[in-house]
Amino acid sequence: MRPSAVRLLNILVPIKRTVDYAVKIRVNPDQKGIDLNVKHSMNPFDEIAVEEAVRLREKLKDEVKSIKVVTIGPPKAAETLRTALAMGADSAIHIEVPDSAPAPEPLGVAKALRAVIQREKEGVDLVILGKQAIDDDAGQTGQMLAGLLDWAQATFASKVVVDPKKKEAEVTREIDGGLEELRSRLPLVITTDLRLNEPRYASLPNIMKAKKKPIQKLTPADLEVDLTPILETIKVAEPPKRVGGGKVGSVDELIAKLKEAGITPVKS
């Protein structure tokens, strides 16, 4: 009996260009959205996903055949792809939508990613993406994608170990009660949590190399996917402003202020 051929891993890392996490968010006067005329960068959880894919290759070496990154976004999103390529991805797919198009929703994104995966001639064994995007905090895309593909999923990963020969992965998940360890067959969707790794700086030689790496351009129509939103945002508002505390000059003043606030002493 011939042993089954060792399958080399093809990793797909979907990433999203979001408002940078350090930017101070301002709600638009129409209360329907936020000011998008600010610095954008790669969703931090997706950076962690790219880093994890690159680390898997450093560990497994030739057993990782390809690391492809994909994004759905306006023309400017190509920069985010270049950053991922500079971190070590091999090639990129840009599903371009016009600047004026509304932001795609998780279900639409999941359908588009499914279309990309089905079209990959060599197949995809591992999809690693951020657990949520910091602009909508939806946290749904990974799970929906696994459902649509009928694949296993391991979300909120804080540790990933892959065995290409066995075609299995062991993932440690961060859950409320602590950590949960899963073992899963491939293909698998993994979503990354904060403690999985710390993304590397882009080194100059890799930035130079990244310029020559291919970016394939597609449209939603090419994938036969409709990204029209099915949700309507009714209102966006800032949280109520925090009223500052005050300093008191003495214990007596403190007691007086506590009484004013209606706090009654408890008999000990």
Partner: protein, 509 residues
């Protein structure tokens, strides 16, 4: 009661580490007494007075953060700290002290590195910490008026929504106060781009040594009416008066900032790299910092910022951190990318490699390495710091000559001097030479001084580029200023402060 007396004994018996004797400057001055404290109590509320003298009777260690400098190298023995809330209160305190001939140490964030912010003996400490309000900001002219006790970081935060920045930035920004920055003419990381405080400070409010309030807190960009008195107070280190209010020209916030850490195979490449960077980046260059290999390794060892990958630092003799700031992201990135490409693809590359920050988190992480060097050095041992202005080409030579000198004296080993490192503001030809010792000892001090000062004088450099003179370098002033200059400085001091109460023992020998 016993513990307080014990504490005072301990202070009195603490070994005198420093051979400088500012005794002459303090000889004619009086100590704070209960009578003085009673008078201060009529000016200030209880919460603004910390004193070991009755009736306040605080324990001595409550004054420790005011009496000891940031490096824990200089130790004052003041009994009393006052924290006035208004310029008027400062004026009344100073007036009393002038009449009573009580020495005063004006104190801001106490982050100075030359012992200028703590008492020599038991001078009264006037802390500006309670005067921390922003008085006004005009977002058309960019002129910011603030109390002297405003912490630099909080001024930065204040200006963010107004799209402006303070024209200076330094590692101590979380603690240092603008009044102290002005009094020491602080330099920092942005001097290359925004110039010195002598240019960006437009006006000052100062309480003179006799208590008079000199209000020159103008908000005018241009005002050529008579002698520019404020220039005397900028950099006077509190010896001519207490700065209580500052009017400063804030700069428009850059719309785009980028930084890159470059690894160089040898120090000789720093100068040509600087020239090429200036040429290609021109107006968007906002910082060019040099970090030698040893101090980079110390920073990594002590967890300052996020280190580069080992493969990237292999073979690097030193590093350069370059920052750009400009009005349009695409324009800046294009210039920066061209520069980096030309450096990497040159026939004889000036750099081994480098890393480019691709997010604000990485931008801060790269800066944290540079800003954390000072702290890393302090964690590694006791640092002798020499902040010198010498020709850029001599940076490496200065570090090596100091190392050789110490080696000859048999002091270059784990038990004495552990490291001799250099880092600093290449763009301003300002090197921070740090000698990291296991402990401060008279032998090491004798080996370093006057050796380092003479070395600097041989380069026709400055023995204090930006840190100031304080207590540490009064005897070394002569290495960078002529007797005539020093004579006239003393005359000006005598004119403003005939009783010699204002920060006695500092700056002037």
């Amino acid at each position: 009661m016993l513990s307080r007396q014990l504490a005072r004994c301990l202070y009195a018996r603490a070994p005198r580490r420093w051979s400088h004797s500012p005794a002459a400057a303090l000889s004619g001055l009086n100590s704070v007494t209960e009578t003085d404290l009673a008078h201060f109590a009529t000016i200030l509320p209880e919460s603004a007075i910390i004193s070991t003298i009755a009736p306040s009777a605080a324990p001595a260690d409550e004054l420790a953060p005011f009496n000891n400098d940031w490096m824990n190298k200089y130790h004052g023995r003041s009994t009393t700290v006052l924290k006035p809330r208004t310029t008027q209160e400062v004026s009344e305190i100073v007036k009393w002290c002038n009449q009573r001939r009580i020495g005063i140490v004006p104190q801001g964030g106490n982050t100075g590195l030359v012992g200028g912010s703590v008492p020599v003996k038991d001078e009264l400490i006037i802390s500006l910490a309670n005067m921390s309000k922003v008085r006004a900001f005009d977002d058309v002219s960019g002129i910011l008026v603030a109390d002297a006790g405003c912490i630099l970081q909080s001024l930065s935060d204040y200006l963010v929504p107004h799209n402006h920045i303070v024209p200076l930035d330094l590692g101590a920004k979380g603690s240092c106060q603008i009044g102290g920055n002005v009094s020491t003419n602080a330099g920092g990381l942005r001097l290359l781009r925004y110039g010195s405080l002598h240019g960006s400070v437009l006006g000052l409010e100062v309480v003179l040594p006799d208590g008079t309030i000199l209000d020159q807190l103008t908000s005018l960009r241009k005002d050529n009416t008579g002698y520019d008195l404020k220039q005397l107070f900028i950099g006077a280190e509190g010896t001519l008066g207490i700065v209580t209010g500052v009017s400063i020209l804030a700069a428009p916030a850059p719309q785009a900032s980028n930084n890159v850490m470059l690894a160089l195979p040898k120090f000789e490449n720093v100068l040509p790299l600087f020239k090429e960077t200036k040429r290609q980046l021109s107006e968007i260059l906002s910082a060019f910092e040099f970090i030698d290999r040893t101090v980079y390794d110390l920073a990594v060892k002590h967890g300052q910022g996020r280190a580069l990958d080992p493969s990237e630092v292999e073979g690097a003799e030193c590093f350069v951190l370059v920052e750009t700031s400009g009005g349009k992201r695409e324009h800046d990135e294009e210039k920066l990318n061209s520069l980096l490409e030309s450096l990497m693809e040159a026939d004889e590359p000036l750099i081994n490699t480098g890393v480019l920050a691709t997010s604000p988190a990485q931008f801060s992480a790269l800066w944290a390495i540079r800003e954390g060097l000072t702290e890393a050095v302090s964690k590694e041992g006791k640092a002798y710091k020499y902040d010198i202005s010498i020709p850029l080409a001599k940076f490496e030579e200065a570090v090596n000559k100091t190392k050789d000198h110490l080696r000859q004296k048999g002091l270059l080993h784990e038990g004495a001097v552990k490291h001799v490192v250099g880092y600093g503001h290449v763009g301003d030809a300002n090197l921070h030479l740090n000698v990291v010792a296991a402990d401060y000892t008279p032998e090491i001090e004798a080996a370093l001084e006057p050796f380092v000062y003479e070395l600097v004088a041989s380069y026709k450099g400055s023995i204090s580029a930006e840190h100031g003179i304080g207590l540490m370098k009064t005897h070394a002033l002569q290495y960078s200023k002529s007797p005539t200059s020093i004579e006239w400085m003393k005359r000006i001091k005598g004119l403003f402060d005939p009783n010699g109460i204002m920060n006695p023992g500092k700056v002037l020998p």
